[in-house]
């Protein structure tokens, strides 16, 4: 199963955050706000980037549209998206373990 994720990895920081934010159904603006808060304002996503991310991630089956209110579409992480995110975090944990000594530099 892990091999299946290879073509998506590594995720960019913004993609990882968008996927994380979509563990609950959210529309575009909601995602942007949540990512900004979660990342302590280290990651800000522009509207062009977000729109593109939504359509790409949906095409790849990592997120799915779960609602449409007026002109705002909301999305939610799919099973495949969850798996990918898990694998991405696992890899980051390994990086973090290796990187811990840098705190004493």
């Amino acid at each position: 199963m892990r091999l299946d994720y290879k073509k998506h990895l590594p995720l960019t920081e913004s993609t990882a955050y968008i996927l994380l934010a979509l563990s609950e159904p959210l529309h575009g603006y909601g995602v942007m706000q949540k990512v900004e808060t979660m990342s302590k304002e280290t990651v800000k996503i522009g509207p062009g980037t977000l729109y593109g991310a939504f359509s790409n991630l949906e095409k790849e089956g990592l997120i799915a549209k779960v609602g449409e209110e007026k002109r705002r579409k909301s999305y939610l992480l799919t099973e495949k998206g969850r798996g990918l995110l898990k694998e991405h975090i696992r890899r980051i944990e390994i990086l973090l373990e290796n990187g811990l000594p840098t705190k004493d530099w």
């Binding site: 960019t12 913004s14 575009g28 603006y29 942007m32 990651v43 800000k44 996503i45 522009g46 509207p47 062009g48 980037t49 977000l50 729109y51 593109g52 991310a53 359509s55 007026k70 002109r71 705002r72 579409k73």
Partner: protein, 172 residues
């Protein structure tokens, strides 16, 4: 209110220069009112405002409402379209210039969409060249010349856009 017509052409790979020019116009008190092909702007005179302009390339008209909604929700004013170029504006805060693309990978996709769109015209160009080059009629010689000039421009535009995408992807 005082308005001004101005013709200003820009090349697709230089769209950032156009954004900078529009910002400068706004600082001088000339505010974007409308644009139509091939670069006919109408500006309205007002007070100097530091507006930041951004151009996106987007032609999926079916999904336009959802696309525009995301921009609107984040404080961007939608100004209009010219041949697939979508014009947006936001007021600068403390002189900084917000981006609509927050990373290079997604910005590269904007130019990739444009390249893809240009590829559609390739068969038209080729058939045009084929028709015009087969005849010796005087008036067709002119069209043949025109077709060749357009073809050269087309190739040049493609190369410039591909360079732009490559640079963005390499993170230069």
């Amino acid at each position: 209110m005082k308005t001004m017509k101005k013709f200003h052409w820009f090349w697709a790979w230089d769209d950032e220069k156009e954004e900078a020019w529009l910002r400068q116009m706004a600082q001088e008190g000339w505010h974007f009112k409308s644009v139509s092909l091939p670069g006919n702007y109408i500006f309205e005179k007002g007070e100097s405002v530091d507006y930041v302009y951004r151009l996106d390339y987007f032609v999926d008209h079916k999904d336009m409402p959802a696309y525009l909604q995301i921009f609107e929700d984040t404080g961007w004013d939608y100004l209009g379209e010219m041949g697939g170029w979508q014009y947006f504006r936001i007021k600068s805060r403390d002189g900084n210039a917000p981006e609509i693309y927050s990373d290079k990978a997604s910005k590269a996709k904007k130019y990739e969409r444009l390249i893809l769109y240009l590829v559609i015209f390739l068969p038209i160009f080729l058939s045009m060249m084929n028709i015009t080059s087969r005849s010796d009629a005087g008036y067709l010689r002119f069209f043949s010349f025109l077709a060749e000039a357009l073809m050269l421009l087309y190739i040049y535009a493609m190369v410039r856009l591909i360079i732009r995408v490559t640079k963005l992807k390499k993170g230069v």
